[in-house]
């Protein structure tokens, strides 16, 4: 059994719009090992949710998708779409941003949790219900047995997200994707849900992809971090290394934009100048060039290729942050 659980290569997603094609993903590679927690971070429109959806086989209507998704050695693009859907449903669980939207308002949660297990794993309805009760108490819903016949609106926001987590776990997947799973929740509840996700990943030795725009969500909860900008992964590596010594100017700027509680009063907050790029008008070069402090004329013609400055890190930048440039020059 290989160490690698999920391997995405050359993922591209183009969405045709009236203003031209939006390049939501411009060639992304991502590897997730068994039991590894990967943070996918970036601002809105950076393509992180598109990537998460591509992995589970969902896409915006009309979008053109290309690239390979290999799950546990099986190339999901080479099998029949129905088979691929079955494999994905069975082995990947996903938790979306808004639990109210992800749950059907007119179907009791018991059925919503159990239906996929009954269909994908061929267990009986009764078995699935027993498992659902167990799952609900695992995700911290009290009085689980009697709540199976309740409807989504009878739960609070935090409990609702716990229900969707139970749904994602119903098929006992190998990979859990949390796509902005806590963004729509109160800050206090956010913390509880994040702790729950981390605990579940550990207990079930789940691999997990945590998608978030919030660096503080990613830091301290993930093994590796991939930073996305303009539809590409600009930098990735072990979380501690990426946060301690960012190499890409974008990552560095993001980290500097975090307000610090120990900063002197009335000091100005740092912001990244400019706006995220219009993905329908991306030029040929590095998408961050327009806002980058290190930008040079050679950033514009071609998107920087993926380089491996250090064994377990990737970088797509011609003019990385200085500290790193030194490290690279060293023999």
């Amino acid at each position: 059994m290989s160490d690698v659980l999920l391997e995405v290569t050359g993922a591209r997603c183009e969405i045709p719009t009236a203003r031209g094609d939006v390049i939501a993903l411009g060639g992304v590679d991502l590897t997730v090992r068994r039991g590894e927690i990967v943070g996918l971070v970036g601002e809105s429109g950076s393509g992180k949710s598109t990537l998460a959806k591509l992995i589970v086989g969902a896409k915006a209507p009309g979008a053109r998708i290309s690239g390979r998704v290999v799950l546990d050695g099986e190339d999901l693009e080479s099998v029949k779409p129905e088979t691929a859907r079955g494999i994905r449903g069975r082995r990947i669980g996903i938790v979306f941003q808004d639990p109210m939207m992800a749950l059907n308002p007119v179907v009791p949660i018991g059925r919503q949790i159990t239906e996929a297990a009954v269909h994908n794993r061929g267990i009986t309805r009764e078995q699935a219900r027993a498992e659902a009760v167990e799952l609900l108490s695992q995700v911290g819903i009290p009085d689980a047995a009697s709540r199976l016949r309740h409807y989504p609106h009878q739960f609070s926001g935090g409990l609702r997200q716990r229900v969707t987590i139970a749904m994602a776990l119903a098929c006992d997947p190998d990979l859990l994707i949390a796509d902005e799973a806590t963004t729509a929740l109160d800050v206090t509840v956010q913390r509880q849900i994040l702790d729950l996700l981390s605990r579940l990943a550990l207990e079930r030795s789940l691999a997990m992809i945590m998608v978030s725009h919030d660096l503080s969500v990613i830091a301290g909860r993930t093994h590796t971090t991939a930073v996305m900008y303009g539809g590409i992964i600009v930098e990735s590596g072990p979380t501690a290394a990426v946060f301690d010594a960012p190499q890409h100017p974008y990552t560095k700027a993001l980290l500097e934009a975090i307000p610090r509680i120990d900063a002197p009063p009335h000091s100005r907050l740092t912001a990244i100048p400019g706006n995220p790029p219009d993905l329908s008008r991306l030029g040929t070069g590095c998408p961050f060039a327009a806002r980058c402090a290190n930008a040079q004329p050679d950033c514009l013609p071609v998107v920087p290729p993926v380089t491996h400055p250090v064994a377990d890190r990737t970088l797509r930048c011609y003019h990385p942050v200085d500290s790193f440039a030194d490290a690279r020059k060293a023999p």
Binding site: G89, N104, P105, N120
Partner: protein
């Protein structure tokens, strides 16, 4: 005990509020609403006579009648009384099940209505069921394959039938199924008492004519509602969890898409009940529509009032049923 402990004990002792009272109140409110609507409609029915020029008797007896004859008839039927008194009298009788006597035929109105109602009711119910049976599968299938060949053909057909009046559809059906092929009778009626097969044989073509007129609205409404439900996130959730398309359509999409369909179907039911005049007269069916058609020119006021009351009561009852259905379909509308 600390303040905190006391507070905790207090909170845990709060029983869930009894909801029986709440529910009773809600049912009571609905019943009150029903009564108010019925009073208004029947009052308007009684007031119809005041809206006609001249007195009812002068209209019934014609221009050559003597003043004495007119006065006598007005007195006989109570049309010389003020509106409110007439209404109260009528209401008092109506509550005991007496809607008066037909001026035209001298039969009790209730008796005639009960004779005619089953015909119209059968026609309406069957037409509604048939049109839904066509519209629901077609709409769901077309919506799940938006812009496919099937979608385009059926949507085109629906637009076509929508723009053809029901009497044209009726005449066409009579020609094709009755005259050309002789599969079905051209017109007429056999009551259920003469056998189900015989009854269905006569009722089929009129039902088909009505259903073809009704299904386009149902089809188009449900199709667009299903299309918008298919864009909901929970459909995507079910899809990425590997649920098959058919299951998603049946289990997740149909119910939340059917609210407007139910409203429109209920309105259509009421409308057909009162207004299948064209089809009833085209096929010579002894229903309420043809009864209204006979009674109005004959100025048979008790009969017209009886029809109005019957239709109004049915309408109100249907609406009550629809309200209950909403709660059945959407748990969010249930009063806990």
């Amino acid at each position: 005990m600390t303040v905190l402990q006391r507070e905790r004990a207090r909170v845990s002792n709060i029983r869930p509020r009894s909801h029986t009272l709440h529910r009773l109140r809600s049912i009571g409110g609905r019943a009150l609403h029903l009564v108010a609507v019925l009073v208004l409609v029947t009052l308007a029915g009684t007031a119809l006579t005041d809206l006609m020029p001249g007195s009812p008797a002068s209209i019934i007896l014609g221009p050559t009648a003597s003043d004495e004859a007119i006065a006598a008839l007005n007195a006989e039927y109570g049309y010389d009384q003020p509106l409110l008194l007439r209404y109260l009298q009528w209401l008092g009788n109506a509550i005991t099940g007496d809607l008066g006597v037909s001026i035209q035929s001298n039969q009790p109105v209730v008796e005639v209505l009960l004779q005619r109602l089953p015909v119209t009711l059968e026609l309406t119910v069957l037409a509604l069921l048939l049109s839904l049976a066509i519209a629901i599968p077609a709409a769901v299938y077309a919506a799940s394959r938006e812009n496919s060949m099937f979608d385009r053909i059926v949507s085109g057909l629906a637009s076509g039938f929508m723009s053809v009046p029901v009497f044209v559809i009726g005449v066409l059906l009579v020609y094709v199924l009755g005259v050309a092929t002789r599969w079905f009778p051209v017109a007429g009626w056999a009551p259920l008492s003469s056998g189900l097969a015989e009854n269905l044989h006569f009722v089929f073509v009129p039902v088909l004519a009505l259903a073809l007129g009704e299904f386009p609205a149902f089809y188009r409404l449900l199709r667009s509602d299903v299309i918008s439900t298919l864009r909901e996130d929970f459909v995507q959730t079910a899809t990425v969890r590997g649920m098959p398309r058919g299951y998603i359509l049946r289990r997740h999409v149909l119910r939340p898409s059917s609210f407007s369909l139910i409203t429109v179907a209920a309105v259509a039911f009421g409308r057909l009940l009162a207004g299948s005049v064209v089809v009833e007269s085209l096929f010579a069916l002894p229903g309420l529509g043809s009864l209204a058609l006979q009674s109005i020119p004959a100025k048979d006021i008790p009969m017209i009032q009886g029809i109005v009351v019957l239709v109004a009561v049915t309408y109100v009852l249907i609406n009550a049923v629809v309200d209950a259905t909403y709660a059945l379909l959407d748990p969010r509308m249930r009063r806990i």
